[in-house]
Amino acid sequence: MLLRHTTAKEIDRKALTVNPAKTCQPVGAMYAALGLHGCLPHSHGSQGCCSYHRSALTRHFKEPVMAATSSFSEGSSVFGGSSNLVSAIETIFTVYNPDVVAVHTTCLSETIGDDLTQIVSKAHEDGLVPEGKKVIFCNTPSYVGTHVTGYSNQVAAFVKFFSTATPKKKNVINLAAGWMEPSDMREIKRLAQEMEARIILFPDMSGVLDAPLTGKFEMYPKGGVTQAQLIATGDSKFTIGLGAYSTEDACVKLENKCKVKFEVVEIPVGLKATDRFITSLSRHANVPVPDSITEERGRLVDLIADNSKYFYGKRVALYGDPDTLIPLTEFLLTLDMKPVYIVTGTSGKHFDESMQALLSEKVPEAKYKSGPNADMFQLHQWIKQEPVDLLIGNTYGKYIARDENIPFVRLGFPIVDRAGHNYFPNVGYVGATNLAIKILEKVLDHFDSNCKEEKVEWQM
């Protein structure tokens, strides 16, 4: 067994994290920055950071991921990274010619005290930022928050550097996209189009990290929200944030800066979260919900009804990011399953309160944990104490699933051993249908291959 060193018995850990259910801020900032058209993310720190983040994103999306680095040396760590960043900006515009450079910091550049406002204005003074080009930045020290925080900081930076209010408000709704797949973003845009709601979705990784093979390498693929759209978010009449952890900060900043009111809902994973999203969009965009969407919902309910006996009572362990875990837990309850163990490395009151509200009556035995030491090792120990029927999360659950022989649905970041997550959505009614089918497939396949021979039947 690969994780044979994990035991059921829990030993009190204070200082040690084993097999984390999180990673550090900069990768989130890099991911979000790729959702702006023509943007080159820039990692202000050592070469390794940039290399790791690019590798992580490349493995997950199986797409080229471009980002530059300040390539810190011993000298930069003593004298500051200012000159590295200034010359990096020059190199980037000369060689790679992006429209925007989105700089994010690292633990190293934060600790030595590099002041990005000052450095970037120096680059401007020195004439290193060509006319019409832009350098934006956000602070993402790795020792604060997690990759989710980094994502949120980058989205907030979009607001800070672009959103502008003119006297004329437009009948447009901003949708601040939480951390989801390009396929999910595509699906959200489709739903809005179906409803004839005018929206600006930001960031938008569809068309960037799910680009077609053309025989050409495009440094800046077609997709992404445009700068003009980002500027126009200041004139929209309302913002809906999808996922509190990844978008609330941006929503607040946009309200403060441009007086655009907002509401934060969950990422529309599952039936009820999608209901809330559709209701919110319908109300704020002042558009009716078309029959086509109601029918999508009906097909989802139909699927659940057809298969409810297979969902019923199954114990599920899940892990990942709170913005996905909260609506996912709710969806599992909708399916009459039992989410019993839930772990996220990203801490916050909202997660704990949401779980309490969702689970205290329906699954009183459920255990959930967030923040430091809420890691995969902990989750595995719980599973060893009392097993589950299904595991949902990123690829890091693979060894647990194998060791414990549990059906395993891959969802979240990173997924590095399977394809399809950036092609087929998990959001909206269609996404929920997709997700419910994945769960069914895994649970039933597991039954078929593990049950006693005399119990095998062709019809189920």
């Binding site: 994290t17 680095t69 600790t111 020792y143």
Partner: protein
């Protein structure tokens, strides 16, 4: 682009056109989309296959997350190395120091797993906040009575290659600390094989057939006690010279153990390696065994390669890998299956490496140090390459360009070492270059 290429003039050479030598080992220009990694990464990948040690990453969570089970280094026994252990430093530790947390984490970890040794990796931030990692390691070592080895691998100190050296220094502190292992007089250490896809086991099979014992494998399927006894081997056989040469040199200075550089990739280099090692011991019997082995292997391998060679004849390859030694072997192995190398680049090659690489390549081959995606895709277009050999970040670029790709880095899933590996390699090149999918690219 023109300006950039000018700045990098000394790092790009076309054989037959430019007559200067390519300068390797230059730091990357700030702002480049470099494919290189950091010092920590170098140390971590080299040490991580030691499977009965714990590897604790002292720093914020990212460094531990990204290197969690970083490559498929297989173990025949313990699997401790597949876990990720971190002190997960937070803001308060950056302000008040992380030594206490490191101490506690080490104690928790050692109590839980009773490892044979602990490696503690110092990351960028630890270097800056000034935690005395060495002193904490000494304290815990005394208390727990196992080697607790600081790996001072702050990322900003240089490139991955500098990290290899630091890893070698860390291991050098283990070497020579035990004499209890029973060994044969005909024993070697294998340095620089990481048992990716079980490659070490293939090599071990060959050496066993010849009559040579492997004392320590450093670090593929590695064990602490083998490394502690490694000073008693007759010879160090070093593969992937970039990562392990430093340890071989240190062991030569300290224990007088000679070393030889080999490559296990491709028929020529694999056979040379076996002959050279056999010759070293000066026993005719070993030489005979080696000859028999090579003869047997080739008898089946050569005809098996033939259909692939026919299908691939005239195809062109671009190579962009970590070290130059690997690139040299690749050029030869590709030639054997009819494929010509038109681009040969590395992340960490030095000037000497590139001289050698240049003599092996054909005229017109572009040699490049520390390249980036824009350059690489430009070169692929210029040369009309049909195949790209590289690592994780190059794969999707190659596919977008509509050409085949082979992973010759951490993520290879097929053993490429030895005779068996050569056949795997030919199959893999054939599968990707001749895939029907490229005909559908518009």
């Amino acid at each position: 682009m023109t300006q950039f290429i000018q700045d990098r003039e000394s790092q790009i050479v076309t054989k037959g056109k430019s007559n200067f030598d390519l300068i390797g080992g230059k730091p990357s220009i700030a702002g480049s989309v470099s494919q290189r990694a950091c010092v920590f990464c170098g140390s971590r990948v080299v040490l991580y296959p030691i499977a009965d040690a714990v590897h604790l990453v002292h720093g914020p969570i990212g460094c531990a997350s990204y290197t969690w089970d970083i490559r498929g280094a297989m173990s025949s026994g313990p699997e401790l190395h597949r876990n990720s252990f971190s002190t997960d430093l937070r803001e308060k530790h950056i302000v008040f120091g992380g030594e206490k947390k490191l101490y506690e984490a080490l104690i928790e970890l050692i109590d839980k797993h009773q490892p044979k040794a602990a490696f503690v990796y110092s990351t960028c931030i630890v270097g800056v906040i000034g935690d005395d990692v060495q002193s904490v390691c000494r304290q815990v070592e005394k208390l727990k009575n196992i080697p607790v080895i600081p790996v001072m691998a702050e990322g900003f100190q240089g490139t991955k290659k500098d990290g290899y050296k630091i890893a070698c220094d860390a291991m050098a502190t283990l070497v020579g600390t035990d004499n209890s292992k029973k060994i044969s007089p005909v024993s070697i250490n294998i340095l620089g094989d990481f048992n990716l896809a079980g490659e070490l086991w293939i090599l071990a099979g060959y050496y066993k057939k010849i009559g040579i014992e492997i004392l320590a494998s450093i670090t593929g399927d590695g064990r602490v006690n083998d490394i502690q006894n490694a000073h008693r081997a007759a010879l160090n056989v070093v593969q992937c010279s970039g990562s392990m040469l430093h340890l071989a040199k240190t062991m030569k200075e300290q224990y007088g153990i000679p070393f030889m550089k080999v490559s296990y990739f491709g028929i020529e280099d694999m056979s040379d390696a076996l002959y050279e090692v056999a010759k070293f011991f000066g026993k005719e019997e070993l030489m005979d065994n080696a000859r028999d082995l090579v003869k047997d292997e080739l008898k089946t391998l050569l005809p098996a390669l033939e259909p692939y060679r026919k299908a691939l004849q005239g195809k062109k390859a671009a190579i962009y890998v970590g070290g130059a030694f690997k690139a040299i072997s690749l050029v030869k192995a590709l030639r054997l299956i009819g494929v010509q190398t038109v681009i040969a680049g590395t992340q960490t090659g030095n000037t000497e490496d590139y001289k050698l690489l240049k003599t092996i390549c054909d005229d017109g081959c572009i040699l490049v140090d520390d390249s980036n995606p824009v350059e690489l895709s430009e070169f692929v277009k210029q040369t009309g390459a049909d195949l790209f050999i590289g690592g994780v970040k190059e794969r999707p670029i190659a596919y977008k360009l509509g050409i085949g790709f082979c992973d010759h880095n951490h993520e290879r899933k097929l053993a490429l070492a030895g005779y068996e590996g050569m056949l795997n390699f030919a199959k893999e090149v054939y599968e990707t270059v001749c895939s029907p999918v490229w005909r559908f690219a518009l």
